[in-house]
């Protein structure tokens, strides 16, 4: 961990939380001595990521930080590509779909057709995070991502990769879809597939349905193929 780098990001994070910040405020929040804050700010200004407003008003971030996020906007491209396909699916089959991407040890819901579904049983779940190990989204992602990444993530989660887990992922890969691991009382079930571009998993789709409507086997037989076709169509659109 390179200290100056860590400190510079502490300053940027503190600045990102307010329209502008004075040296005193930033020093207080980051627990850094004032000269250090001044020096770091000078560097950030020189690099173009911050601007000095005035002595009293302090500093603020510039829109150059938007440039750093440029690549991240890929997520948006994925959503743009996926949305019409997902809507068509939901219109045709009725069940709501969720699109999630990996984000720091969990899947984050980026888009959903829950509002368009007649069987909409949940409020809008945007930005909600789903567990990697038990949700259909997370299990689909883990099963299809590169083995090395999977190992890293499991280690990060503090999970020992055992034979049982490996078998579960192998099963998901051969089936082409994953299911939510439900407690006995769970009423809602999910079936998840991966949106793949070669080795890379761009995101995952999950269709949610009521447990009493069909068994896992039925869900797989009926919707496995359509869901994978959907994922393939989205993948094709997403990287133009």
């Amino acid at each position: 961990m390179i200290e100056p780098v860590s400190r510079s990001f502490a300053i940027m994070e503190a600045l990102s939380r307010r329209p502008r910040g004075t040296v005193a405020v930033l020093a207080g929040e980051t627990h850094l001595p004032r000269p250090t804050v001044v020096r770091l700010l000078k560097t950030l200004v020189e690099l173009g990521y911050a601007t000095r407003i005035s002595r009293e008003a302090g500093y603020r971030l510039t829109d150059k930080v938007l440039g750093l996020a440029q690549g991240i906007r890929f997520v948006d491209r994925l959503i743009d590509a996926a949305a019409p396909h997902m809507s068509r699916f939901t219109r045709r089959y009725g069940w709501p779909l969720y699109l999630g991407t990996i984000s720091d040890r969990a899947m984050t819901i980026r888009h959903s057709t829950a509002t368009e579904s007649p069987m909409s049983f949940e409020r809008t779940a945007l930005q909600r995070r789903s567990p990697l190990l038990s949700s259909a989204l997370g299990r689909a992602w883990l099963a299809f991502c590169p083995a090395e990444e999977r190992r890293g993530v499991l280690r990060h989660l503090g999970v020992k990769p055992d034979a049982k887990l490996a078998a579960a992922f192998a099963r998901i890969r051969s089936d082409g879809y994953a299911f939510t691991v439900l407690p006995r009382s769970g009423r809602l079930q999910g079936i998840g597939v991966a949106i793949r571009d070669g080795e890379r998993v761009m995101g995952c789709l999950s269709m949610r349905f009521i447990r009493s409507a069909m068994t896992e086997d039925e869900a797989g037989r009926r919707y496995g193929a359509p869901l994978n076709a959907l994922a393939a169509a989205i993948a094709a659109d997403a990287d133009r």
Copy 2:
């Protein structure tokens, strides 16, 4: 300029330009030795801004960088685009400039070159609010904004839109600039123009001068065109 900070941003910028990057590619593009790149990447990963995908695919930025951009609003982009133009203007003509945007029944001063002006007669006026009806900033905004928006704002201010007012706005539109409506005793005068993008008014500029230095007519003749050129240049820069 703190070297490690500068280098870490070089890495992030290189990463932001591609979906993922290997150590070799990043080292090549940043002209840094590979061990340094590895060390910086480790730090970025530890901080959560980057993730290791796999040995061959390398690293990618995470969506945590979006968090840094959360505070950047459109206003900042406008200021970033405007600031250098405004400074050049003040250096050339001497008079201080103010940049304001509409904000709940008043214009809020977002940026000013008052401190850079030899004729600086006011303290820092940042965040100060100027009345819509009497300030040059406000009158420029009202005159050039869409008619429907103007009607709404006037109603909101409790002002009956009469013929006199309509004529004043028509005059501003044909002149291309507005003036402060001063009490007899006022010493400072302002001339304002709109920064436009099609129908939309992104913000307004106002140049302030001492009343005894010139009449309104003279100010309009001398500075009307340069101010509008300035506004056009800013508008062009602001939406790339």
